[in-house]
């Protein structure tokens, strides 16, 4: 693990930014997460070490975007592309954050970091060079949809960071696509700050090729009356972790999450979510779906934290899992930690395989077993996919998933 050695000895070449130095310093005492901690307990150690085995690549090579830009109105950005973004229109503006603004915000976030909980972010920020950090300030309404791409090239580890400020009363659709090449590692950290009355439909689609790895972390802070909707899909990674942390800083905000992970072969994909309500009247509706086939392993751990101040919180979390093979395994752990008494909180979890009665019904109607299974799977996938913004119009994710199966 070359990277860890470098962190330990602090022998990094080139000029480091102040943030990189802070994060390296934080990592030095314990460069790897504690494998016994709840968040890393089930994580495959050898896969994590494979993730760290590649050397860091700061330059970006060309890559194929999975679908053409067929509409003029979509704004497309690629992290690391060195693009200068400044769009000021009548209704809206999208500007890059100044270095000062970026530094200030990231430093503030780092001050809240915990070694195990935010290890992926610490690693990301210690590796992400200035070019690979994209900071955006979005303001206004009627903003065209935004697509942001992150990409890892073969035989290397790429670290990309995205910081987005959504100003007051702003409303936007944003799709983040993370692509991994063969034998690559991508470390992607995203920081979202939703100011009052803003709302975002956020989509995250991550998929890799043979033996690609991903550490994807998403940190969202929601101010009052903001709405955050997340639709996410992770598939085709040898090893992937999706860590979501959402804080409703003063309550009175809405969060909707629909996430899905699909694992095959010997892949391991996990989703960890932590939703904190730091004020009253918060709302959460979360569903996570997993599908595990072959010898793969899918993990979901979700925690909902409702302190005393968060009265009248309404939170629900559902974990639905399909286990399709004798050698695959699924771990799920939905959690509730509640102190406020005037709350409505519930969670549920199921693990099963495709419904045999439904399959039988369809077969009696002349549909083949393969077709019937596909139909069932498509309804299973559709709930999540239809929640992912932008892509649904021009990118047939459902087809892609079904054909992969």
């Amino acid at each position: 693990m070359e990277i860890i050695e470098k962190i330990k000895t602090n022998k990094s070449d080139g000029n480091l930014t102040e943030i990189q130095k802070i994060c390296l310093h934080k990592l030095q005492s314990s460069p790897l997460p504690n494998p016994k901690s709840e968040l890393w307990r089930l994580s495959n150690k050898s896969k994590l070490s494979t993730f760290l085995d590649y050397s860091v690549n700061e330059k970006d090579s060309k890559f194929d975007i999975p679908y053409p830009k067929n509409s003029q109105s979509t704004i497309r950005l690629i992290i690391g592309d060195n693009c200068q973004t400044k769009l000021i229109e009548k209704n809206y503006s999208i500007e890059q954050l100044s270095d000062d603004e970026l530094q200030k915000y990231i430093k503030e976030q780092i001050s809240f970091f915990k070694q195990n909980e935010n290890w992926s972010d610490l690693l990301n920020l210690s590796l992400s060079c200035k070019n690979n950090i994209l900071g955006l300030k979005i303001n206004g309404s009627k903003i065209p949809p935004i697509e942001i791409f992150s990409h890892a090239s073969s035989n290397s580890l790429n670290a990309k960071t995205l910081v987005i400020f959504l100003e007051k009363n702003c409303d936007v659709e944003l799709l983040q696509v993370n692509l991994g090449k063969e034998n690559s590692s991508l470390s992607q950290s995203t920081f979202f700050c939703l100011k009052e009355n803003s709302s975002v439909n956020h989509g995250v689609v991550s998929y890799g090729e043979n033996r690609s790895n991903l550490l994807n972390s998403l940190n969202v802070i929601q101010q009052k009356n903001s709405a955050y909707n997340l639709g996410s899909l992770h598939f085709k990674f040898n090893y992937a972790r999706f860590e979501i942390s959402i804080k409703q800083s003063a309550g009175n905000a809405k969060t909707n999450i629909k996430s899905m992970q699909i694992t095959k072969k010997d892949e391991q994909i996990s989703t960890y979510t932590k939703i904190e309500f730091n004020g009253p009247n918060g709302f959460l509706d979360q569903i996570n779906k997993s599908l595990a086939d072959d010898k793969s392993h899918a993990i979901f751990e979700g925690s909902i934290i409702v302190p005393k101040i968060a009265q009248r919180t309404d939170a629900s979390q559902l974990s639905r899992n399909l286990l399709l093979s004798n050698l695959a395994q699924i771990d799920t752990k939905p959690q509730l930690e509640i102190i406020a008494d005037d709350v409505k909180c519930k969670h549920g979890a199921t693990i099963s395989q495709l419904n045999e009665e439904e399959l039988f019904y369809m077969r009696t109607r002349g549909i083949t077993l393969t077709e019937a299974s596909k139909l069932q799977l498509s309804s299973y996938f559709q709930e999540i996919i239809s929640f992912i913004p932008i892509s649904k119009d021009k990118w047939d994710l459902l087809d892609k998933l079904l054909n992969e199966n």
Binding site: Q311, L323, A328, T332, Q335, I339, K344, K346, G348
Partner: protein
């Protein structure tokens, strides 16, 4: 609106089992080392295999670390500051109940467990354990007629050493966890039950555990073996006096059910919970596990946990036999500064195994109540099913309720369903009941009792009524 002041004024029933029996006791010195273990073993005139078992467990324990993963906070326990053996002084051998110190009989009388011939409960056989020793076991002869062995574990070690040697530590090995290792090294007394093949135990069996001294811990061990096609219902109750120090209770319970056997294990745990400031109370660290070894065997745990300052308890089922069934019904109530981290583990190993978990947590005052459970489907558990339901009720805005279910499946032909919810006593419902002329406290108690109904239905008759009353008492004055 519910009048908050009313809450504070409502009667607070003192812990009525908090008295101390003034009796001459024999205690060994404080501390834990090999000599102490040898001394305990010698006092109990144990065979060599048991001493070896204890010493081996002690060695393991020394290498282990106290677990800290539970959502509990308590001061570090000084294991050298505990007396590991304490027994009321009495004649060497007791041939009948008449020879038992009347003070002891009186104590159990006061606790509602009369042991004497005239008063003893008619349909329940009782094994009464006082500190480290078993005082008396009722209905022994009647049970023996059916071939049922029901005695203290010390007696079983002497009279049924073969069974003890064969089964002790097979369900909860000494190396299982820190507190199980500690118990295996120093366990004092407890109950032993053996139900022979084809026998349905003619009456309920019951153990009553009483801690009397404030500086000695209680480490009882219970072993229940149900042979093929037998069945038994076992009840367990516990109380302790009020001391301002914390007393350690680390018990191990092992159940073994062979083909078609069924064991029902019910607990009403009412150890002293400490006062309102959280001073005193029992630290209750218990390892309970049942092994459904045989085909179609069934183990059912039902528990009402209302006492103890700290509860750390996860009655579990290992479902090995084909079509075996595991059940867990629990009501855990915490008030004031009590902390409970309790739940169950259902490990599905054999095919077509089934398990049901119903857990109801009620947290009031400044207490902390966590459900922690594991459901695991092994690779061979085809056609297995689990259903879990965990509901929490919060009373007051200082209490906390947590749910930590761990679900793991390696078998596609199995189904796991889990649901959890959190609610509070709704003002609308309270208003409705009060408008029908039902007193405030009674309305609360009715709602709590309704909330726990699923679990109370599983308790044996005598216990269910008791549990209902117990909850009402414990909760009085905590609703706001």
């Amino acid at each position: 609106m519910v009048n908050e002041n009313l809450v504070k004024d409502v009667v607070k029933e003192p812990y009525k089992y908090g008295f101390v029996t003034d009796i001459e006791t024999e205690k060994i010195e404080k501390g834990l080392n090999e000599d102490i273990i040898k001394l305990i073993s010698q006092k109990k005139e144990e065979p060599k295999f048991l001493l070896d078992f204890r010493l081996k467990a002690f060695k393991r324990w020394q290498k282990m670390k106290e677990p800290d993963w539970a959502a509990l906070g308590y001061e570090k326990i000084d294991y050298q500051d505990i007396i590991y053996y304490s027994a009321p002084k009495q004649k060497e051998k007791i041939s009948s109940l008449d020879e038992v110190d009347p003070k002891l009989l009186e104590t159990f009388d006061k606790l509602g467990i009369p042991l004497t011939e005239q008063k003893k409960l008619t349909n329940v056989a009782v094994d009464a354990v006082f500190d480290s020793v078993s005082i008396a076991t009722t209905f022994k002869e009647e049970l023996a007629e059916h071939g049922v062995i029901f005695c203290s574990i010390s007696e079983a070690v002497k009279n049924h050493a073969d069974l003890i040697e064969k089964y002790l530590g097979t369900v909860v090995p000494a190396s299982d966890n820190y507190f199980a290792a500690l118990n295996s090294a120093v366990f004092s007394d407890g109950s032993f039950v053996y139900i022979p093949k084809g026998v349905t135990c003619p009456m309920d069996l019951s153990s009553y555990f009483r801690i009397n001294s404030g500086d000695s811990g209680q480490f009882e061990r219970t072993l229940i073996i149900a042979e093929e096609s037998s069945s038994v219902s076992y009840l367990e109750g516990c109380t302790a006096p009020m001391f301002d120090t914390n007393t350690l209770h680390a018990a191990v319970v092992e159940l073994i059910a062979l083909d078609d056997a069924s064991i029902k294990y019910s607990t009403v745990q009412n150890w002293y919970a400490g006062d309102e400031e959280g001073i005193g109370g029992i630290f209750n660290f218990v390892t309970k596990r049942g092994k459904c070894l045989g085909k179609r065997s069934k183990i059912s745990w039902s528990q009402v946990e209302t006492g103890s300052a700290i509860t750390w308890k996860y009655p579990s089922c290992l479902l090995l036999g084909e079509e075996s069934v595991g059940e867990f019904y629990s009501v855990a109530l915490t008030n004031n500064l009590q902390q409970a981290d309790t739940g169950t583990k259902m490990i599905h190993i054999g095919p077509k195994t089934k398990s049901t978990i119903v857990s109801k947590g009620i947290s009031a005052g400044n207490s902390k109540n966590s459900y922690r459970g594991l459901v695991k489907m092994g690779t061979k558990a085809t056609g297995s099913r689990n259903y879990s339901q965990c509901d929490s009720m919060l009373i007051g805005d200082q209490a906390s309720a947590n749910t930590f279910p761990y679900i793991k499946s390696q078998q596609p032909n199995s189904e796991i369903e889990h649901e959890a919810s959190t609610c509070r006593i709704s003002e609308d419902q309270l208003f409705y009941l009060q408008s029908r002329g039902i007193e405030f406290e009674e309305a609360v108690s009715m709602m709590v009792s309704g909330f726990c109904r699923d679990v109370f239905n599983q308790l044996p008759m005598e216990f269910a009524a008791e549990a209902d009353k117990l909850l009402a008492l414990k909760l009085e004055g905590s609703v706001g």
